[in-house]
């Protein structure tokens, strides 16, 4: 069908698509507190530096999904830039984490803007994170003004959760 040059282009497109899915699933794993999913995204010996944590990914998984006081989070990624070099790759991904925290005497919403700067390795045909560093750019804190049960927002019945009862896990009607 195609010459070698076109096959190389196709390979690069497939690699970039697969890396995008890794970053998307990383966000899902954090927001849904899905430890097994999070663990599945890392290569053996992977290293993570995010906020207070710096160390092996295997240790990050346990703490990363359950920060003290976190009620909900929403990691939204964009500007995904990947450079592929055979079975290794590097990437920069913009991310904004919108979160609600239980704090002393109330709740606080935070927005944190930054970037993941990553190294990846392809293991058995699947791309995995070998190193992920979060680069902080800016943050905002506000008293929570969320409305859950009234007006327009109150009409929206599917609600995100930090667990297997989240709607994404029951997309085909399955039980969580």
């Amino acid at each position: 069908m195609s010459n070698n040059n076109e096959l190389a282009l196709l390979q690069e497109l497939e690699d970039k698509q697969a890396l995008r899915e890794v970053s998307t699933l990383f966000a899902r794993a954090l927001d849904r507190a899905d430890g097994p999913l999070l663990a599945s995204l890392f290569a053996d010996g992977a290293q993570v530096s995010i906020g207070a944590f710096s160390g092996p990914a295997s240790e990050f998984v346990a703490g990363g999904i359950s920060p003290a006081g976190l009620e909900r989070s929403f990691h939204s990624v964009s500007n995904e830039f990947y450079q592929i070099d055979g079975d290794s790759a590097r990437g920069e991904i913009y991310v904004i984490d919108v979160a609600t925290w239980n704090t002393d005497g109330g709740k606080t919403d935070t927005l944190i803007g930054g970037r993941y700067v990553d190294a990846y390795s392809k293991v058995g045909g699947a791309w995995k994170i070998a190193r992920r560093t979060f680069v902080h750019e800016w943050n905002m804190s506000f008293p929570t003004t969320t409305v859950w049960d009234e007006g327009l927002f109150g009409m929206i019945k599917l609600r995100g959760t930090r667990g297997k009862d989240d709607p994404i896990y029951t997309i085909l009607g399955g039980q969580a």
Binding site: M1, S2, N3, E6, L9, L10, E12, L13, K16, S49, G51, A52, S78, N79, E80, F81, Q83, R90, G91, E92, Y94, I96, I112, G113, G114, R115, V117, A119, T133, F134, V135, H136, E137, W138, N139, M140, S141, F142
Partner: protein, 174 residues
């Protein structure tokens, strides 16, 4: 369309998307040479703050950003690219966030939602912008709500302008 042409169209769109990311890297890191590399030398822009030759715009824009914004952060979304051979038109949504210092020393936070309206051209195998115009759709001026205490003190790796940023050490930016 042949399989070959379909693969090449996908690769062209990916290459343009990558260059859109490059443009943001250049602006947020204030990297003048990287910014120029996203435009053809005979390109042009209509940005309001500067209308004219694209490389002259780059020379104007980086000092402008440094002078007026404490930091800037740009996300892109809703990318539509229409290919026409070695030329393409594109629209991308830009969700910016920036901090500016007021004369009294206080900072304000200005989120802004805009769109880029582009014409891209592939020359010698490389897609660069021939035209980029900035369309404003929304903005806000909020009291600065950034903090560096509590859990925010944990974020030890801070993004920077210039080559100290981690992206250079990781060779994501030449």
């Amino acid at each position: 369309m042949s399989t070959s042409a379909r693969i090449r169209a996908l690769a062209d769109k990916q290459a343009i998307y990558d260059q859109m990311c490059r443009y943001i890297q250049a602006v947020d890191r204030c990297d003048l040479e990287l910014l120029k590399s996203t435009f053809h030398h005979d390109g042009s822009v209509i940005f309001g703050i500067f209308d004219g030759n694209a490389h002259d715009f780059c020379d104007y824009d980086i000092p402008f950003i440094k002078d007026n914004l404490v930091w800037a952060y740009h996300r892109i979304a809703n990318v539509v690219i229409e290919l026409d051979g070695n030329r393409a038109t594109a629209e991308s949504y830009m969700l910016g966030n920036a901090a500016a210092a007021l004369p009294d020393g206080n900072k304000i936070n200005c989120p802004d939602n805009m769109r880029y309206r582009d014409v891209w051209e592939k020359r010698d195998g490389v897609w660069r912008m021939w035209k980029r115009d900035l369309v404003m759709d929304w903005n806000a001026c909020w009291a600065y709500a950034g903090r560096s205490d509590g859990r925010f003190a944990d974020y030890r790796v801070q993004g920077t302008r210039g080559r100290e940023d981690l992206t250079y050490r990781m060779k994501l930016i030449p």
